[in-house]
Structure formats: structure tokens, C-alpha cells
Subunit: 193 residues, 2 copies
């Protein structure tokens, strides 16, 4: 555990989201998961919304770092690496956490700051997928495809994988395997065929 009080609070927020979900989460419940009092928590963050935004920013930084870690010379390996990060986050097994993120997505139309953060996540992955597809088409390792449309289709599959996980209990691993097969079959194999 980090000794940075802000980090401690973000870990506490994560635990509290897993335990209570987003909708009814209180500052007291977050304080209960941390070593701080509710008063100390308010010293760092005025409102629950402010703390949740800090938490989303922390998730974004961690996601961005993991995507930066994907740095392959080969566009096909790059594409699979990016999808692995997108479809096997550190909290993959954690249904409660994915559910809390989905509650935050459902709040997005009512909360401009949430919408802004979710759009940054979407753009971050989308830009990298688009670049990998464009590189692969250019060097001939992927078949002819529109990089924008292909990246959007992949983003839609990533979102759908988590939605079906939360909504109907479909394992993310199974969806991830189908997404990989889609890439293998329709973007890669037809080149070598």
C-alpha cells in the first residue's frame, strides 16, 4: 500500500464501490474502507462527486500506463496487445467493480464530468486501435480496412463484452476470445489466404 493519503483514499473508494455500488455510495462508507475519518476525507475532497472524479482520473492514468506498455513493432501484435489490455483489466474478475463502472456509465448523460472522463477512456483506446489498424493496412499485415470504422467496431465489442458480463453474466474471457477470433479471421487471415 502506498503511504500517500490520496492513494489510500482512492483504494478505499475502489473497495467501497465494490461493496456498495455507485448509486447509494456515501462518504462515510468510503471513510470506513480507509484509515481516515470522514472529516479527513472531506479535507481532501469536498464532495463524493469530486472524489469519484479523482478515482476515475486515477483509473485513467493506470489504463493509459498499461496501454503505453503495449509497444510492439508488428501492427498485428500491437492490435492483440491493446485488446488484451482492454479486455483483461486488473479488476476483470471483480464483477462488483465492473458493475459500479457500468452505473457510472449510466450516469454519464446526467453528469458532464463523468461523460468527459468516459470519452477520454474511449478516445485513448480508440486512437491506439485506429493507429494499429492503419499501420497494419499500410504494411500489408492486415487486410484492407477502414481504420476508423474498424476501431469503432472493436470499441463497441469491448463495451458490449462488459455490458453482457454485468447484465447477463457472460464471462468477459469468452467475449474476449470471440473478439480475438474476429481479428484473426477477418483482419489477419485473409491476408495470408
Amino acid at each position: 500500500m502506498s503511504s500517500d493519503p490520496a492513494d489510500d483514499l482512492l483504494c478505499a473508494t475502489h473497495r467501497a464501490l465494490c461493496r456498495h455500488g455507485y448509486a447509494d455510495l456515501t462518504m462515510q462508507q468510503i471513510a470506513d474502507e480507509s484509515t481516515k475519518s470522514k472529516a479527513a476525507l472531506h479535507y481532501h475532497y469536498d464532495t463524493k462527486a469530486e472524489l469519484l472524479l479523482a478515482f476515475l482520473d486515477h483509473l485513467y492514468e493506470s489504463y493509459a500506463e498499461r496501454l503505453v506498455g503495449v509497444d510492439e513493432d508488428d501492427p498485428v501484435a500491437e492490435l492483440f496487445g491493446l485488446l488484451d489490455v482492454a479486455l483483461s483489466p486488473p479488476h476483470r474478475e471483480d464483477e462488483a467493480f465492473q458493475t459500479a463502472i457500468m452505473e457510472i456509465k449510466a450516469q454519464s448523460p446526467y453528469n458532464e464530468a463523468f461523460r468527459d472522463r468516459l470519452t477520454r477512456f474511449d478516445d485513448l483506446l480508440g486512437d491506439r486501435l485506429r493507429a494499429a489498424v492503419a499501420d497494419g493496412v499500410e504494411d500489408g499485415s492486415l487486410q484492407e480496412a477502414d481504420p476508423d470504422e474498424t476501431a469503432t467496431l472493436l470499441l463497441t465489442l469491448v463495451n458490449g463484452s462488459y455490458t453482457r458480463h454485468v447484465g447477463v453474466g457472460a464471462p468477459v474471457e469468452e467475449s474476449a476470445a470471440l473478439v480475438r477470433e474476429y481479428v484473426e479471421r477477418h483482419l489477419v487471415d485473409e491476408v495470408s489466404a
Copy 2:
């Protein structure tokens, strides 16, 4: 408008969900959208959860009817018809309604009755997609494909289209066009190529 009191309440539930979302919805808010008092509403449904389940069942019946209405001789036309129903529901334009449905999906891990209803929706569309793909592969109008995996990929795309609509404001029509293009290009065209 129907004169059936239950139908009136389900319409009121729809309007109340659009206006207030799922999380904070009260029986009073639903009564305010109907011609009934809150007491009369409790006469029909003991709890908010019971009324929401009746509402989901009503949505299911309406969705099932629209899917039954897709009845093409040609498996390719059948597949496109099913995707049209899935990706252009009557309330497509209604971001508030889609958002409420997403809040209900996010409640699914905590509510077995919601999970049960959402699974029925998923199975209903999944079974029809699977059958259309199987028929198309058999009669040669679609390329060789695993009907189970293809149906699941399409379900994932449908779910992802709504999630990106609610989460980042991506228009459902744009996602629907990409899904159609996927079918056209990877399931249909390669047969004629």
C-alpha cells in the same frame, strides 16, 4: 392510449423512467405520470420492484412481437431484419429511456429477477440470430461460420452499441451501420466473392 389500467401504469412507468431514471424512481413519481393515485398504484403492484418487473415483461412481450414480425424466407434478409429490430427499438431516440435500461442492467448482479428478465431478452435475440446464421450457412447464402459464436458476437455488438450511446454519446445509428457492414462484408460478401 389503452383503457386497461395496467397498460396505463406501464406507460406511466415508462414516462417516469425517462424523466427520473431508475435509481431514484419512486412510486409517487410513477403515480404522477398516470391518471391513478399512489394508493391505486399499490393496489395493482405491492412494490416498485414488482411494477418494474411487470414493465420489463411488457417490454419483453413487445420486443418478442417485433422479432416474430421478422419472418423472411431468405436467411440473409432474416439476419438484417433481426438486427434492425435489435438496433432500432421504438425508443431509439430516447436517451433517457436507454439510460434507465442501462441502470437496470447495472442492478442485474444484485437482483435475480432483473437478471432473469435480461437473460430472456438476450436468449430471445440470440436464438433467432443463431438460427438465421445456421440456415444461411446451410443453404450457402452465408459463408462458413459457427452459428453460436457469430450470434454471440452480434449480441455483444448490440449491447456495445447501446453502452457507447449512453456512456459516450455515440449515435446508435452509426453503430448499427457498422454492424450491418460487418455482416455484409464478412458473412455475406465473401460467399459471392
